[in-house]
């Protein structure tokens, strides 16, 4: 009769995806934000496409971090507001499992979506197609790591007014290594030099964060749920 962990994980994942697709505008907003921010940079700098290429990795990565941060605020908040988070916390399934499922779903609908639209932005910024594979892979690793860092931040700021500003304040400093390695990998892919170093670091960061952050995010939720 009892429900296994895997089954419960899939159920929460299903729930999250269901909820996201019922509100398609919330799905598209971060993506549109991503597109708009990356358009603003060339307009503000009025550069040629060739010169744009030099700043492209930085622009791409800053925009990606900001737009996936944008949707993190609601990761636990909407469930906390209507009381369903309490139901999930008392479901008899470990809270960590629920946190993993929710954060995973968040990454699928924001991070992965961002990776998929990134070639459009890349073309606009003059990134050569030869760099797309590394750029998309690095963005996938980076957004996944950020989703996890953000889950800790979102857990800590649940009940707070103006929690979204605080969330950025907390998460962005922690995300600097991501920006550094991610932009470096993209930069090197554009110039055709070896990306292995940056990519290994990025992967290491991702693995490290994905192992430890679930516990930290669970602890954060327990603190703010009280």
């Amino acid at each position: 009769m009892t429900v296994g962990a895997w089954e419960a994980f899939l159920l929460v994942l299903h729930r999250e995806l269901c909820l996201s697709f019922r509100r398609p505008e919330q799905l598209f907003q971060p993506l549109v934000f991503f597109l708009i921010v990356t358009t603003l940079f060339p307009l503000g700098l009025s550069l040629q496409l060739s010169a744009l290429r030099d700043i492209a990795p930085g622009v791409l990565w800053v925009a990606a971090l900001l737009s996936s941060l944008l949707s993190l605020d609601s990761l636990f908040k909407s469930d906390a507001d209507d009381g369903t988070l309490e139901q999930l916390a008392l479901s008899g399934q470990g809270l960590t499992l629920i946190v993993v499922a929710k954060t995973g779903a968040h990454w699928l609908v924001t991070g992965l979506a961002l990776v998929i639209v990134s070639p459009i932005v890349a073309i606009a910024l003059g990134i050569p197609t030869s760099a797309f594979a590394i750029m998309m892979l690095s963005l996938a690793l980076g957004t996944l790591t950020l989703s996890w860092l953000g889950a800790i931040g979102a857990g800590l700021t649940i009940g707070l007014r103006r929690g979204n500003v605080l969330l950025s304040l907390i998460v962005l400093p922690l995300a600097t290594p991501l920006l550094i390695f991610g932009a470096a990998a993209t930069d090197r892919a554009i110039s055709g030099t070896s990306t292995a170093g940056a990519m290994y670091f990025l992967a290491a960061l991702c693995v490290f964060t994905c192992t430890l952050a679930p516990w930290a995010a669970t602890a954060a939720l327990r603190i703010t749920l009280e």
């Binding site: 009892t2 159920l11 909820l19 209507d82 009381g83 309490e86 999930l88 008899g92």
Partner: protein
């Protein structure tokens, strides 16, 4: 050794909220087939007490035990036996009533849509099963949340103001459900302002500041 180890017990529970000493050493013991009616004026910590008993809130002093074991050490088992209905109906407004039930109850036990429909039928909202929760009235939402408690088939019910937003027939329904639950060997803690009007044994806990 401890012959009081059946049922749910909380002892000398203290909770502070900032400077406010909300719960000042509250104790009670509820056995199966018993119902504890928690009452008190606003702000006396009724909901806080229920959250402590549910395990959501860890008291600064005192303990909550179930079957003689601390609920923090047997968290999974305890939660599996628990149905908690907070003051809010805890429904996602974008999901239908039956989806809401499925995602909440489905984590506790394997359920079929038939089980869930039966629960919704029992609380009189079977007709709303396929409607998104956002279009339901406050009373209908309350009934859906009662159906969730019912569908969990839990032995411990923790209900916070189950009568809120309900009409006379709805209040009647709450009483019937509670009575049936207690008679089947369950136990319940109910926060309510009004009298519960039950024929089964009711113990009272009056909180005051």
């Amino acid at each position: 050794m401890n012959f009081a180890s059946d049922g749910l017990e909380f002892e000398k529970v203290h909770v502070w909220r900032g400077d406010r000493h909300v719960l000042q050493g509250i104790s009670a013991h509820v056995r199966p087939r018993e119902l504890l009616h928690i009452s008190g004026a606003n702000g006396t910590g009724k909901t806080t007490l229920l959250r402590v008993v549910s395990g959501l809130l860890r008291p600064e002093q005192g303990s909550v035990t179930w079957l003689g074991q601390s609920i923090t050490s047997s968290r999974t088992e305890y939660q599996a036996a628990l149905a908690y209905a907070s003051h809010e109906p805890a429904l996602k407004s974008d999901l239908t009533a039956i989806e809401n039930l499925r995602f909440a109850v489905g984590l506790k036990r394997r359920v079929t849509p038939k089980d869930l429909l039966a629960a919704l039928d029992r609380t009189g909202v079977a007709a709303c099963a396929e409607l998104p929760a956002r279009v339901l009235s406050a009373g209908q939402r309350r009934r859906v949340s009662l159906a969730r408690v019912l569908a969990m088939r839990a032995s411990i019910w923790l209900l916070d103001e189950p009568h809120a937003n309900l009409d006379a027939a709805g209040s009647e329904l709450v009483s019937e459900l509670l009575q049936a639950h207690v008679q089947e060997g369950g136990l319940a803690l109910v926060v309510a302002h009004r009298d519960l009007a039950l024929s089964c044994p009711v113990r009272r806990l009056e909180l005051n500041s």
